[in-house]
């Protein structure tokens, strides 16, 4: 098989083998991968822009290491896509916003430095909802992303481009970000694996801030093993992000092969309110596979689940209204023309530069923090967040992992929910809880609906137990029918 035909099916392992056996060089692979991605991209709009110079320079460096007989790194030559809310030195980073349309970051995010150090080849930056705000990728200032499985449907969001690129084969793995489900939901909609680590597991230095107490960098891949490898590369303490945790990083790849017999799994009944839906059925079929492998499954209750969406849309918008205050026309590329006074310049720049969803969230966040409303909304939401986090603490006293759907429904059609923000917000109902509690969570493909749309099964574990979560996901992936 020629290299060009192999591109969409490559794995981290097959690339490593190809490079070590000298079947191809990293430079040859990168050229082919770029050619393929650029040719295929118009079908989905997954990439906003490519960075061939940076990619080829990374590839050359891998080839030089191989020639010298040095270890080229865990991700040597692997074509990677990076969500365009993660900054890349010298490569345009827009957050899919008109506000940052021409922004060229002067530094790399820590996760990007980690990719570089591991020999990864960043092909380009992926489309997303503007400032990662959305669940369908329709809020991008540069056009929506189409789901590679069905172009009439959304890929999910906000990391829609990162999931679509991996599903389409134009990247082997990708980085996304998850604030309320933005890695898991698009992974589920596109039929790929998406993992959001524990809050604090991966440095957010260089992740354009949306809601700081909820933002995570996450990973997307076509299989669980590649997911584990990518997480391995980016996990760990970073002194430039004081919220990153000084907790040792285990060997995630080694953890994959441990058994799952005797693992206790909880099914929270609040996540299966509609047990006859196709989505619930596919997830419950997946649970049967785990039972066969010797997992003990029991039903549990997480009573505060139904309050998560309400608490989340107070907390995330409040934090967003503060984080997005920096876009004022002074420092970051975009400024409204013809404003006479400084105050007008601020207002007009923000009015023209932000899209509808960003404005909605800034407004809601400003409202809930404004004089007289703070206690009723923000403080109340923070207290409810405590109750939701406690639900998890209680659950993990009884069980080692939780299984739930990722989304109540598979990928919906473009435009279907765009005019009703509340309906769009409710599509995150099963992912937001984990974001509020900061527990690790992932989506693993568990089947397709009668209409041929992929469905993901969500696995959640205790803080910093990504290894247990990956082990469960790996056992499931290898044993599902």
């Amino acid at each position: 098989m020629t290299l060009a035909l192999e591109i969409p099916k490559l794995t981290i392992g097959s690339i490593r083998e190809g490079l070590l056996k000298r079947r191809f060089s990293a430079t040859e692979l990168t050229r082919e991968a770029l050619r393929f991605a650029e040719a295929e991209n118009p079908k989905t709009n997954a990439y906003l822009h490519f960075c061939p110079e940076r990619a080829l320079s990374a590839a050359r460096s891998v080839d030089e290491k191989l020639a010298r007989g040095e270890d080229p790194g865990l991700l040597a030559g692997v074509p990677v896509a990076v969500k365009d809310v993660i900054v890349t030195k010298g490569v345009r980073t827009t957050a899919a916003s008109k506000m940052l349309a021409d922004y060229i970051p002067p530094y790399d995010a820590t996760a990007v430095e980690c990719l570089d150090a591991a020999g990864a080849v960043i092909l380009g930056k992926t489309n997303c909802d503007e400032f990662a705000m959305g669940s369908s990728n329709e809020n991008s200032a540069f056009g929506p992303v189409r789901n590679p499985v069905d172009p009439e449907r959304v890929p999910g969001g906000s990391s829609g481009g990162s999931a679509a690129a991996v599903a389409q084969g134009t990247a082997v793995v990708s980085l996304g970000s998850d604030t309320g489900g933005s890695v898991r939901q698009p992974a589920s909609f596109c039929g790929v694996v998406g993992l959001t680590p524990t809050y604090g597991r991966v440095s957010r230095y260089g992740l354009i801030a949306f809601a700081s107490s909820l933002d995570h960098i996450g990973v997307v891949a076509r299989n669980v093993s590649d997911t584990a490898t990518l997480l391995q590369v980016i996990a760990g303490r970073d002194e430039r992000d004081s919220t990153s945790a000084a907790v040792p990083v285990p060997d995630y790849m080694a953890a994959l092969n441990g058994g799952v017999r005797g693992m206790k799994i909880g099914l929270p009944r609040e996540y299966f309110k509609d047990p006859d839906s196709e989505t619930s059925k596919l997830v419950l079929d997946g649970v049967e596979v785990l039972k066969r492998l010797g997992c003990e499954v029991r039903e549990i209750s997480m009573p505060h689940t139904e309050y998560a969406v309400a608490a989340y849309y107070i907390i995330c918008t409040a934090e967003a209204s503060s984080n997005l205050a920096r876009y004022d026309g002074v420092r970051y590329t975009f400024r409204s023309r013809d404003s006479e006074t400084l105050a007008d310049m601020y207002r007009n720049t923000r009015g023209e530069g932000f899209g509808a969803e960003c404005k909605r969230r800034i407004m809601l966040g400003t409202y809930v923090l404004s004089a007289g409303y703070y206690d009723a909304y923000y403080l109340k939401a923070q207290k409810v967040r405590t109750l939701i986090a406690r639900d998890f603490t209680e659950a993990f006293r009884e069980v080692d992992a939780l299984i739930a759907p990722v989304s109540p429904f598979p990928a919906f059609k473009l435009g279907e929910k765009l005019d009703d923000p509340m309906q769009m917000y409710l599509s995150d109902i099963y992912t937001i809880t984990a974001s509020l509690a900061g527990v690790p969570c992932m989506s693993v493909p568990c089947g397709v609906t009668s209409g041929g749309l992929p469905v993901g099964m969500q696995i959640l574990t205790r803080h910093f137990d990504e290894a247990g979560m990956l082990r469960l996901a790996y056992a499931f992936e290898r044993n599902r029918a």
């Binding site: 809050y199 604090g200 945790a245 608490a311 509808a356 407004m363 809601l364 207290k383």
Partner: protein, 99 residues
């Protein structure tokens, strides 16, 4: 819960956001719908519950602080490179003070 257009304009002012009249009308409807949904939280009694501002893990008090040492900054040329308008080593903005 319904938000009046005047309330929307007041909040937009706090947020330093210019909204068109059409945006104000749409915002009143959209925010009203979300605020109505959010009222759901009042079903819960949260008396005596500590607010959660951050996900915390068990760590010493200063464990997440880095050593306080000097490091080079970006330098003004690099820092100004993305400015829409700059000159003489500064960001330029419309006149603030009357002469």
């Amino acid at each position: 819960m319904k938000l009046s257009e005047d309330e929307v304009r007041y909040v937009a002012d706090l947020a330093n956001l210019t909204l068109t009249d059409a945006e104000v009308r749409k915002m009143a409807t959209d925010l009203g719908a979300v605020l109505t949904y959010i009222d759901k939280l009042n079903e819960l009694d949260t008396t005596g519950v500590e607010p959660m501002a951050q996900v915390l893990y068990e760590a010493g008090e200063t464990e997440t602080l880095r050593e306080d040492r000097e490091r080079p900054g970006l330098g003004s040329e690099v820092a100004l490179a993305n400015a829409p308008l700059a000159g003489g080593g500064f960001f330029k903005v419309p006149k603030v003070i009357e002469r």
